[in-house]
């Protein structure tokens, strides 16, 4: 549906139109954390092969150095308070509002401990907990219960957030994304606590332990959602939840496995969130998510972020063809190959074609498919967002305008280059 391009929309109107599957004046754009922004390189984190760009390099490239305020980083070193001038310059229609956290306390070895008790160690350009999970090896319910789970009603979560949210909502025209810590993940928190293999196998090999742990985890996660949304729920436009259900080569689990073991918890968290806000619900899920999309929609997800074009069956044309009328896609610009290794010309062509595929009848917010790593030069990031701004005006072209050479480099843009373009859509019968 076309709204008629009489006037320039406000950012909030633009994003809302897209989310409601109407064509706005141009493709909405998002740049920034929690998972589509940029990292900052701070010692002791480092880059292994001498490519050391990141946030400061971007700010310098844009002629806006020094950044204001001083950058503050999330667990993966993504900048959570990007300079307003940078967001404006990159045409971002969104602004993020984060749950409050205590200041990060560093240990002598450079690691720090977060609200959940995860100790994040420096790893290359960011931090990681893999291999050092605090409950690795724990398999008894009583031991799990002894774990110092976070206080879900810690006042710091919502402290000052109502005022901040009200101001953003009433004094700006941006689309406000409410972001709790770590996206209130479930699968991810499970593997940060016990290790990845345990997260995948405990539902089958330790069903009682899994259930007891999930009950405890849900109590915490729902409490944090409640604390955050009681302060902000009236002002935010979308509430951000997250879990990584996909990998590069396929989903982490079959649809049956998801429905049997995990879906109920995602559903419960979405339903709980909706008690405190009328905002749309956005789910972050990396990797191949194609088999899950109908189920995500069924439990109340409005926006699927951040759609990544390279994983199995996650190509823009396939997602748009199979699910374009039920969810809004968010993301889509490849930071695994296109941005680190492509040319500026590649980027311009891929951005233009991605917009053309995803943008028909709205239903698309352009963003990076994940945080830009330190190996991506700033001029390439700027090329993405200037390209989106230039090529994203409706009406979009009906036919592809990408040359064959570029298409062959990025074959995810064409069903003609896919082996199984006509794979049947998984059914939702649960």
């Amino acid at each position: 549906m076309c709204l008629g391009m009489v006037r320039e929309m406000s950012p909030r109107e633009r994003v809302l139109a897209a989310v409601e599957h109407k064509e706005p004046d141009r493709i909405p754009i998002h740049f920034g954390a929690p998972s589509s922004g940029i990292v900052e390189i701070v010692p002791p984190c480092h880059v292994t092969a001498g490519r050391n760009y990141g946030y400061t390099a971007l700010v310098k490239y844009l002629g806006l150095y020094p950044p204001k305020p001083e950058p503050r980083m999330g667990s993966l070193n993504e900048v959570t308070n990007i300079d307003e001038r940078v967001l404006e310059r990159l045409h971002s229609d969104t602004r993020c509002l984060y749950a409050g956290t205590a200041p990060r306390k560093y240990m002598p070895d450079g690691s720090f401990i977060d609200r959940y008790g995860f100790r994040w160690y420096p790893l290359g350009p960011c931090y990681d907990v893999s291999g050092r999970e605090p409950m690795r090896g724990v398999a008894k319910i009583e031991d799990m219960e002894k774990y110092p789970w976070p206080d879900p009603h810690d006042p710091i979560i919502g402290q000052g957030k109502e005022k901040e949210a009200k101001k953003l909502s009433e004094e700006t025209e941006y689309w406000i994304i409410g972001v709790p810590e770590l996206g209130q993940s479930l699968l991810a928190i499970y593997f940060f606590l016990f290790g990845y293999e345990r997260a995948l196998t405990d539902p089958v090999l330790r069903p009682e332990f899994f259930k007891a742990t999930m009950d405890r985890m849900m109590e915490v996660q729902k409490g944090i959602v409640e604390t955050f949304l009681q302060a902000t729920g009236d002002y935010i436009d979308v509430f951000y939840l997250g879990d990584d259900m996909g990998t590069q080569t396929g989903p982490t689990m079959s649809l049956d496995f998801y429905r049997k073991h995990w879906k109920r918890y995602h559903k419960e968290l979405v339903q709980h969130s909706k008690k405190f806000t009328k905002a749309k619900i956005q789910l972050h899920s990396c990797g191949s998510n194609w088999i899950f999309v109908k189920d995500f929609r069924e439990i109340g997800i409005d926006i699927l972020e951040n759609v990544q074009p390279k994983p199995w069956h996650n190509e823009p044309w396939r997602l748009k063809r199979d699910y374009g009328n039920i969810v809004c896609f968010f993301g889509g610009i490849d930071v695994q190959e296109l941005l680190p290794f492509g040319t500026i010309e590649d980027i311009e062509q891929v951005v233009k074609e991605t917009i053309r595929i995803y943008g028909e009848d709205g239903g698309y917010i352009l963003a990076l498919q994940h945080t830009a790593g330190a190996e991506i030069p700033p001029e390439k990031i700027v090329a993405v967002f200037d390209g989106a701004y230039e090529y994203g005006r409706y009406p979009l072209p009906k036919e592809a305008e990408i040359d064959r050479r570029t298409l062959e480099k990025y074959p995810y843009l064409s069903p003609e280059l896919a082996v199984d373009s006509d794979a049947p859509v998984p059914t939702c019968n649960s």
Binding site: V47, T48, A49, R51, L123, G124, P125, D128, S130, G131, Y196, E197, L200, T201, V204, L205, T247, Q248, T249, G250, P251, T252, M253, S254, F257, W312, H313, V335, Q336, E337, P340, F341, G373, A374, E375
Partner: protein, 211 residues
């Protein structure tokens, strides 16, 4: 029949049934036949994984079942004979600066189940350690993975380290991991690339003339 049940239990990732099937076997069935059955289960699972009929959870559950069987079986195996009959030795690890292990562990599991002698160096492995280990054990293959587009740049140090040890010509180097591509593998001086463990086995077997 029971061997078939064992293969089926492995394929379905049913650890308890796999171990029970193995315990039900007649005492005169050779442990190597049991291993063959285990390999058959993994091979079938591999086909399904390639066809996207099963996913990561199924692989990890199958690995747990296979390890469960292998643990019970280990005291009965003639290790020297097994080593001598292995298709070759592979040294495997996650690249320096990267501590992600699940993908690498699965690759190791599938190579073991396919008849290779696998030496797993773990995660965050310096290039020199790959080369030293490969030289010491006469490995035909070195496999390295990276999950991050930054840490993957360190993969290029591995072929150079093998050169410095004087064994580059005798070792095939295979790279994998989410951001790694065939093109990157060539640029980084590697020989082979695979996007999943089962394709990796096929490619390596072909490269070393086992098929």
């Amino acid at each position: 029949m029971i061997l078939q049940q064992l293969a089926d239990a492995i394929e379905k990732g049913d650890k308890q049934r796999a171990i029970k099937s193995m315990r039900d076997l007649e005492a005169d069935i050779h442990p190597e036949d049991i291993l063959k059955s285990l390999t058959e289960g993994i091979r079938k699972l591999g086909e399904k994984f390639e066809n996207h009929e099963v996913f990561l959870t199924d692989l990890v559950l199958a690995a747990q079942a296979a390890y469960g069987v292998a643990e019970v079986l280990e005291p009965h195996l003639d290790k020297e004979r097994m080593k001598a009959r292995a298709l070759g030795t592979m040294v495997i690890g996650t690249v320096e600066g990267d501590v992600h292990s699940v993908g690498k562990d699965l690759v190791a599991m599938v190579f073991r189940a396919s008849g290779f002698n696998v030496i797993d160096l773990g995660t965050d492995v310096p290039a020199k350690k790959f080369a030293t280990a490969a030289k010491e054990c006469g490995a035909k293959i070195v496999g390295a993975s990276a999950l991050l587009s930054t840490t993957m740049l360190g993969l290029s140090k591995i072929p150079r380290a093998l050169e410095q040890e004087g064994i580059r010509e005798t070792v095939r180097v295979i790279f994998g991991g989410a951001p790694v591509t065939e093109r990157f593998t060539k640029e980084a001086g590697g020989d082979l690339y695979a996007e999943d463990p089962f394709r990796a086995v096929k490619i390596v077997k072909k490269a070393i003339g086992c098929v």
